[in-house]
């Protein structure tokens, strides 16, 4: 029999193992169920997210379509809007719509990828998890059967050993009994030998001794046999014990881990590929967005009031083309076509010339002052108008609080108070600018008129003086009149209409050597424009 303690020890270990095996399966099953649940959640999630992408995509598409249609019909109905897209500001608006369409398309693509790729993958992984769990459990059952087998074997060999040892003990005690009897017999016969020589009861005693010896021999044989059996059984037990412990250790160190690996087979890799598909889609959406935004940003960088102004003037060429100069229309038969500076008007003209000269000097100084103020005011306005108040990155800070979305309108540059203050300031400056501009305009108009008269007088008087001198030296023409109005230094004012050709044109009638081709071209151009305008003017005169 096994001792009670030994039995308990063995059984407890075996029970513990069996219990763990059951729990291990439970654990694997739980894990697989968790995974299936996770995969189901992911599928549900992406199904709904795909829907959201589609809704978003459709909303954006509708939005872009609405305004594109509006632009299309407006172009059809208003001739003058046909070339609007050439204007940099309108171009930005069209690009905003393009970007919206691009976003719409990209989010539709996202929907497609979620639905036809990500979700399909997730469903497959789910199948894999179920299938692999079953197969791994099969493997596990095989492993567990092995454990049960070896522990049962161990139990068997242990029982055998204990049985043989019990028998061995009993054989030993029987042998010992026999040995004691033999000893007793021996001491008895030694006593008798001393007292009784040649007795008639000797054969009887001899047969008794032989009997005892025989028994002892028998018991000795039995004992040896049992002892050998027991030794073999113990050896078997010890060898099986080592084997069992080795198998159990292997199971816990390697096999159980291998079983989990079987369960996991490809799970992480497939899941990673699914997430990478999702990431690839999202990153690509982002790249596409970014490309669109860059195009947009480029268009914003190219917002240019000067170029837009020139485009508008080009579009309305007839309206902004300078008219023909007023010609000198002499009275019938009057052959004089120049200012005459002979006496008696010479003195008066000279006086007038000097008056004009001093008047102009004063006016120019005054107007230059106005111009400086105007430029400074414009600079102030430009600073207000180009203030870099458009960075909204603060609104996208996630780090601190995840809950509260910072309102962009509060606290910042765009707060109502700030905006109102800025606008009031801006409009005040604007009013001042316009006042000064009118003043400058009046001044410069006066100056240009006086300057024209002054220059003509100067030229005339120079010729007159020459005429009076009557010498043969080449005429020293008075210096060509300076253009009164210097272009203002700010580039915004420093433009030239029609690429400056107009100034060339204006100069033609008054001056000497000009490229004939360009004159012919300009005159032709001007004439065509003029004729169209004349027809226009005449038509408007009809009742």
């Amino acid at each position: 029999h096994l001792s009670h303690t030994n039995f308990t020890k063995y059984s407890l270990t075996k029970l513990l193992i069996r219990n763990q095996l059951v729990e291990q399966f439970k654990c694997l099953e739980q894990q697989s169920e968790s995974r299936i649940q996770l995969l189901q959640d992911l599928q549900d999630f992406f199904r709904r997210k795909a829907e959201i992408q589609l809704e978003y995509s459709r909303s954006l598409e509708k939005l872009a379509e609405r305004f594109s249609n509006k632009i299309r019909s407006s172009r059809e109905h208003h001739q003058f809007k046909k070339d609007q897209h050439l204007l940099s500001s309108v171009n930005c608006w069209y690009l905003v719509l393009n970007q919206t369409r691009r976003e719409s398309r990209d989010h539709a693509t996202l929907n497609d990828i979620y639905t036809n790729n990500v979700i399909v993958r997730l469903a497959q992984i789910s199948e894999d998890v179920i299938r692999l769990f079953k197969k791994s459990k099969d493997i596990g059952i095989q492993m567990h059967e092995e454990l049960v087998k070896v522990t049962n074997e161990l139990y068997t060999v242990m029982k055998t050993y204990h049985m043989y040892h019990t028998e061995s003990i009993s054989a030993e005690s029987k042998l010992k009994d026999a040995e004691k009897q033999e000893e007793k017999q021996f001491s008895k016969s030694a006593d008798l030998n001393v007292h009784l020589l040649r007795h008639e009861d000797r054969p009887q005693r001899r047969s008794s001794v032989r009997k005892i010896e025989k028994m002892k021999e028998k018991r000795q044989a039995k004992y040896s046999e049992n002892k050998l059996k027991c030794t073999k059984a113990r050896n078997d037990y010890l060898l099986n014990l080592a084997a069992t412990n080795a198998v159990v250790a292997k199971y816990y160190i390697h096999d159980v881990s291998d079983m989990i690996d079987c369960c996991d087979l490809g799970y992480h890799a497939s899941l990673a590929r699914t997430f990478r598909t999702y990431l690839s889609a999202e990153y690509n959406l982002e790249t596409s967005r970014h490309e669109g935004l860059d195009i947009m940003e480029n268009a914003v960088d190219n917002l240019d009031s000067r170029s837009d102004k020139h485009k508008i003037m080009d579009m309305h060429n007839q309206v902004f083309c300078p008219p023909m100069r007023f010609e000198y229309l002499p009275h019938m038969g009057d052959e004089v076509c120049q200012v005459s500076a002979q006496q008696p008007v010479q003195t008066e003209l000279l006086m007038r010339y000097h008056q004009l000269q001093s008047r102009l000097a004063t006016l120019k100084i005054e107007n230059e002052e106005v111009r400086k103020t105007l430029d400074a005011t414009m600079q102030t306005m430009q600073d207000m108008l180009t203030v870099e108040d458009f960075d909204v990155s603060d609104a996208f800070q996630h780090s601190r609080s995840t809950e509260s979305i910072k309102s962009v309108a509060s606290e910042t540059y765009m707060s109502k108070l700030n905006v109102a203050k800025r606008r009031a300031n801006q409009q005040e400056t604007e009013v001042f600018y316009f006042t000064k501009f009118k003043e400058f305009l009046n001044g410069s108009n006066l100056i240009i008129k006086l300057q024209a008269k002054h220059d003509l007088l100067k030229q005339t008087l120079g010729e007159g003086e020459r005429a009076e001198c009557g010498t043969t030296r080449p005429p020293t023409l008075p210096p060509k009149p300076q253009k009164m109005r210097k272009p203002r230094p700010r580039s915004i004012y420093n433009h030239k209409l029609f690429n400056g050709n107009m100034e060339t044109f204006i100069k033609v009638p008054t001056h000497e050597s000009v490229n004939m081709d360009s004159i012919v071209f300009m005159v032709n151009h001007f004439l065509v424009t003029l004729l169209v305008s004349v027809i226009h003017a005449l038509l408007s005169l009809l009742p």
Copy 2:
């Protein structure tokens, strides 16, 4: 009087100018109206886009919330799910939800920026356009009045010149008349002088001559006066003509452009700032998205089945903790606790030992073959499982056709046919792998048992030999038994449970010098685990 041609010329030029001025205003007005329309469209657009952002944001928020709630309640109800987030796969899922929440917040921010910043700016620009158009028109009116004024003045001085020239011509003809009369008188008196000297009618004739001379003088004076007047008028006309042409030229070259500039004042700059606000918002949204995706990508890179397996085993420590070794339980009084290799079992044991040795050699070779097949199969599976099939950038190509969204599921790697083929292939390999794995498991279980027995026998027989020799030389222990099962080369199998501590632990009872601290720690750890398991086992035995 002006000649008809001259009058027409002057009037046409003046009419052309007036007509152009009207058209210029119309053009400016049209342009301003276009701008107001554009700004209105932009406001409408961004208002609707803001709504779409909010809808999108809310949908995403609801989606994330739905699954977050599910996770929360699942954690509360299932104890074992509490630490699930430690698993790399579950972590990815949580990050997908985080990213969704982040997107939701960012799109809500976009809504806020559109509504409270972009639209506000657009409305302000609209106001500016209206106000500046009015002010610019005022300036324009002033400019036009100046043009009308100078052209009217020119007309007046031209008329004056023509009038004086007419008068000058008439005075000249009258003077010529008088000169003719004087000449006639002169020739008559010369005739008389020849025929009549000292005549009585001389005084009468002298008075007639004096009368003619007086008239001539008067007419001469009148003519000179008129000629001077005419010269002055012509000079005035020529000077005014120059001034007028200068003013007109200035208007067409500079003033009209300045007027447009006044209209444009700040329009492009403000529009640019508005678009830049939009761009800043969009770029920041993108940056935020990107940050989130990078976190996500990092988590996907860290998807790790090995670490997850260890975490699961740690979480279920009791279930995976190796049990106590089966102890040798000797029968009462049996003091032998080792395999005995004395005669008569020695021969048999030796024979058994040699049999085991040759059996093991064969088995190991066989099982090594199985292992090689297994590894190759695993490699094939790994290649299938880690194929890089997740790039969906093709779906986001906008360049070619803007209309057709390429379906990701068609043609590509994810096509149904391809997927089915791949999966069939994968599962076939899987089946083969499991068959081989079972084979390998059987083989290695057998080997480990035989090896344990073999090692024990080897040790015993070695000791037995030593004991028989009875020499004093130090015992030459048989070489320590090699671990039968070599760790497989694939790192996925090359793990150690509990950071390999278990193996150390397993070795403790059989071997010599081990750090006592670590033994104490391990034993404590093991005992605690064991006691818990025992209690568990005992509880499960209760009726």
